[in-house]
Amino acid sequence: MTSDGTDRAPVRVFLVDDHALFRSGVRAELATAPDQVEVVGEAGSVGEAVAGIAHYEPQVVLLDVHMPDGGGAEVLRRVRGDHPDVVFLALSVSDAAEDVIAVIRGGARGYVTKTISGRELADAVCQVAAGDPVFSPRLAGFVLDAFSQGPNSAPIGDPELDLLTPRERDVLRLLARGYAYKEIASELFISVKTVETHVSSVLRKTQLSNRYELSRWATDRRLV
C-alpha cells in the first residue's frame, strides 16, 4: 500500500459547481477512492473558481457546464492562459450539445455526465490526469452528429483538418454504443493506446473546428 502511495500520489482535484449539494455529493463519491483522487478545494462561481484554481493549483478541475456568469466556458477562458497544465473535465447534467461542445472547445479534456458512479468518475479523473481524453457515449454521439456528412450538412472547407477519418469514426461509434476503450481495442484489433490516440485527435479536431460553428449547426438541426 505504501509502495503504491509513493509510486503515484492521488490526483489533486478541484470541484467547480454552483450547487453546494452536488459538490458535497461528488466529494463523498470520490472519497471512496482515496488512493486515486484527493479533492483539494471547491468553488461555486466563476470568480471563486478562477481564484481557487490559482491558489490550489490542482491537477484536474471537475467543471460544471452550466453556471451563472458564463459557466464552464468562462472559467476555461480565464484560467487556461495562466495555468496551461491544469486539466479540465466537464461534468454536466446538460443534455444540450451546444453547452457540452462549447466546453470541449474551450479546452476541456473530456466530458462525463452527472449520473456517473463514483468509481467511474475517479477512473475518469485519473485518465485525464494521465493525459488521455475521456468521452462519454453521449459526447461521442454529439461529435458524430456534428461531423456527420448527412444530406443537409454544411459543406466543410478543409477536409484534412475537419473530417474524421474512418477509423476515428469507428472508434466514436463504438464509444457511443457504450464500449470501454479496452473493448474498442479488442473489437477493432488495435491497442488501447491507439484508441486513445484516435480519441485525442477527435478532441483536437473538435477544438479546432470552431470556425464551422459546430455546435450552432448541430443545434440548428436539433441534433441533441
Binding site: 450547487h19 452550466h66 457515449p137 458524430l144 456527420s148 444530406p151 457504450g178 438541426r221 441534433l223
Partner: protein, 431 residues
C-alpha cells in the same frame, strides 16, 4: 441534480431576450445628449472622431445637426452608468460643437435659403430643441426615480415642476412665433390660402411638439411588455416545478424506505424535466425555436425516431427500474418499417432488462442516408444462442420476425458471461 438548473438556466442563459435596439445614448459621460458617445460605444471608434464627423457634416446644409437631432429623438437612453466626461474632453467637444454650428451657419448664410425662411425656421427649431431637451431631462429624471411608468407620468414629464413647465411653454412659444413669422413673411397669399397654411402649420407644430412624448410612451410600453413576459415566464416555471418536481419529492419522502420506488420516481422525474428543459420544444431552446411555447407533459411527442426512441427507453426504465443510456445520431421521420424497428428495439431493451441482470443498458441509434442502425447492449449475463429453447418467442418473433418482415436484419453478439449486443438494421426508403 437537474433541479437546480431550472432555477438559473431559463432565467439567465435563455431568458427573455432584450428586444430593444442595440444603440443607446449614454447617460453619463455625455456632452449634449449622449448621441456621439453612444455611437462610439456602438461602433467601437473614438468619441472625438464621431463628434468631428458630425461637426463636418453640419457644414453640408446642416446635415450633421439634422442627423444628430434625429438620433436624439429616436435612440433611447441607456440605463447603465458610464464614466463622466473629463475636462479636456468637454473642451474638445464644445469646440467641435461651436465649429459645427459655425460651419452650418456660415454655409447657411452663403446658401440658397432666403432670409424670410431662415429666420422663422431658426426660431422654430430653437423652440423645438428646447422642448425636446426638456423631454429628455424628464426621461433622465425618470431613470433616477426608478421606472415610474404610465400615461400620466409620460405626458406630464414625470413631475418636472414649475421650471420644466416654463421651459416647455417657452419652447412652444418659440415654435409658434416661428410659425407666425413664417406665415407673416409669405403674406401675399389670399385668405383661403392663409387659413389653410396656418392650419397646416399649427398641425405640424403640434406634431413636432408632441413627438418626444409619443416616443416615450411607446418605449415605456415596450419596457412594460418585456417585464410582463418575464414575470409570466417565471410564473410558468414555478407552476411547472410545483406540478412535477415538488410533487415527486413529496412522494419520495413518503416512500423513502423503498429504494426501488425512489429510484423509479427520481428517474421518471429527471427524464420529464430534462425533456421539458432541453427537449426539441423545451425551455432551454433558443427563443426563436419554440413558437408554440415549451412542451407540456401532456403534449404528444413529435413523431421522429429520436423522440420515440427516447419515449420507449423511458417506459422501459420506469417499468424495470434500470438505466437506459440512449444516444441518437441524426434523426428522421418515422415510417412503417422504422416503427417496426423501434418496436423491436424496445423489445431488445426489455429483454436486456429482464435477463441480463444489470442496471444499465446502452442504446445507440444512427440514422444514415440509406439505413437506420440500432444497437442495444448490456454487460450482463449473456447467453448461448444455440441453447435458446424454441418456446421463447421474444427474440425470434418480436425482434427477428418484426425486422425481417419489414426488410431489415438482426445480428446478435453474445456469449455467456460477456453481455449481449443486438444490432438491428433497417434500410430507409429513398422516396
Amino acid at each position: 441534480m437537474p433541479f437546480g438548473h431550472v432555477v438559473h438556466g431559463p432565467n439567465s442563459a435563455h431568458g427573455v431576450r432584450e428586444t430593444g435596439p442595440k444603440l443607446y445614448r449614454r447617460r453619463g459621460g455625455r456632452l449634449v445628449s449622449g448621441v456621439c458617445s453612444g455611437i462610439s460605444d456602438h461602433l467601437g471608434v473614438s468619441v472625438l472622431s464621431v463628434r468631428a464627423t458630425f461637426a463636418v457634416l453640419a457644414a453640408f446644409g446642416g446635415a450633421g445637426v439634422f442627423a444628430y437631432g434625429l438620433l436624439w429623438i429616436f435612440v433611447p437612453q441607456s440605463a447603465g452608468a458610464e464614466p463622466p466626461v473629463t475636462d479636456r474632453e468637454r473642451q474638445q467637444g464644445l469646440g467641435l460643437i461651436i465649429l459645427g454650428l459655425g460651419l452650418a451657419v456660415a454655409v447657411g448664410l452663403l446658401g440658397i435659403l432666403p432670409g424670410w425662411l431662415t429666420g422663422p425656421l431658426g426660431v422654430a427649431l430653437v423652440g423645438a430643441a428646447v422642448v425636446w431637451r426638456e423631454a429628455d431631462e424628464s426621461q433622465r429624471r425618470r431613470w433616477r426615480e426608478g421606472a415610474r411608468s404610465g400615461m400620466a407620468g409620460a405626458v406630464l414629464g414625470g413631475g418636472g415642476g414649475r421650471a420644466a413647465m416654463v421651459r416647455i411653454i417657452s419652447g412652444a412659444a418659440l415654435v409658434v412665433i416661428g410659425a407666425v413669422v413664417f406665415l407673416g413673411g409669405s403674406a401675399t397669399a389670399s385668405d383661403l390660402q392663409f387659413a389653410m397654411l396656418s392650419t397646416i402649420t399649427a398641425l405640424i407644430g403640434a406634431a413636432v411638439l408632441t413627438v418626444p412624448w409619443w416616443m416615450r410612451l411607446m418605449r415605456d410600453l415596450d419596457v412594460e411588455r418585456a417585464g410582463r413576459v418575464r414575470s409570466q415566464e417565471r410564473a410558468e416555471i414555478a407552476a411547472h416545478l410545483h406540478d412535477s418536481v415538488l410533487q415527486t419529492l413529496a412522494l419520495i419522502q413518503k416512500q423513502a424506505d423503498s429504494e426501488r420506488e425512489v429510484r423509479r420516481l427520481a428517474r421518471g422525474q429527471e427524464r420529464e424535466l430534462r425533456t421539458w428543459l432541453y427537449g426539441p420544444d423545451g425551455y432551454g431552446r433558443a427563443d426563436g425555436d419554440r413558437p408554440a411555447g415549451p412542451a407540456q407533459p401532456g403534449d404528444a411527442p413529435p413523431q421522429t425516431l429520436s423522440a420515440q426512441l427516447t419515449r420507449a427507453c423511458g417506459e422501459v426504465e420506469d417499468a424495470f427500474a434500470i438505466t437506459v443510456q440512449q444516444v441518437v445520431v441524426g434523426d428522421c421521420e418515422l415510417d412503417e418499417p422504422l416503427t417496426a424497428a423501434l418496436a423491436a428495439a424496445r423489445e431488445a431493451v426489455v429483454n436486456a432488462a429482464k435477463h441480463a441482470g444489470v442496471g444499465e443498458v446502452s442504446v445507440y441509434a444512427e440514422v444514415e442516408p440509406d439505413r437506420v442502425s440500432i444497437f442495444v447492449r448490456d454487460r450482463g449475463a449473456g447467453f448461448d444462442p444455440e441453447r435458446v429453447s424454441d418456446d421463447r418467442h421474444g427474440l425470434a418473433d418480436s425482434i427477428k420476425g418484426r425486422m425481417e418482415r419489414n426488410g431489415g436484419s438482426v445480428r446478435i453478439k453474445t456469449a455467456p458471461g460477456s453481455g449481449t449486443e443486438v444490432q438491428m438494421d433497417m434500410p430507409r426508403k429513398t422516396s
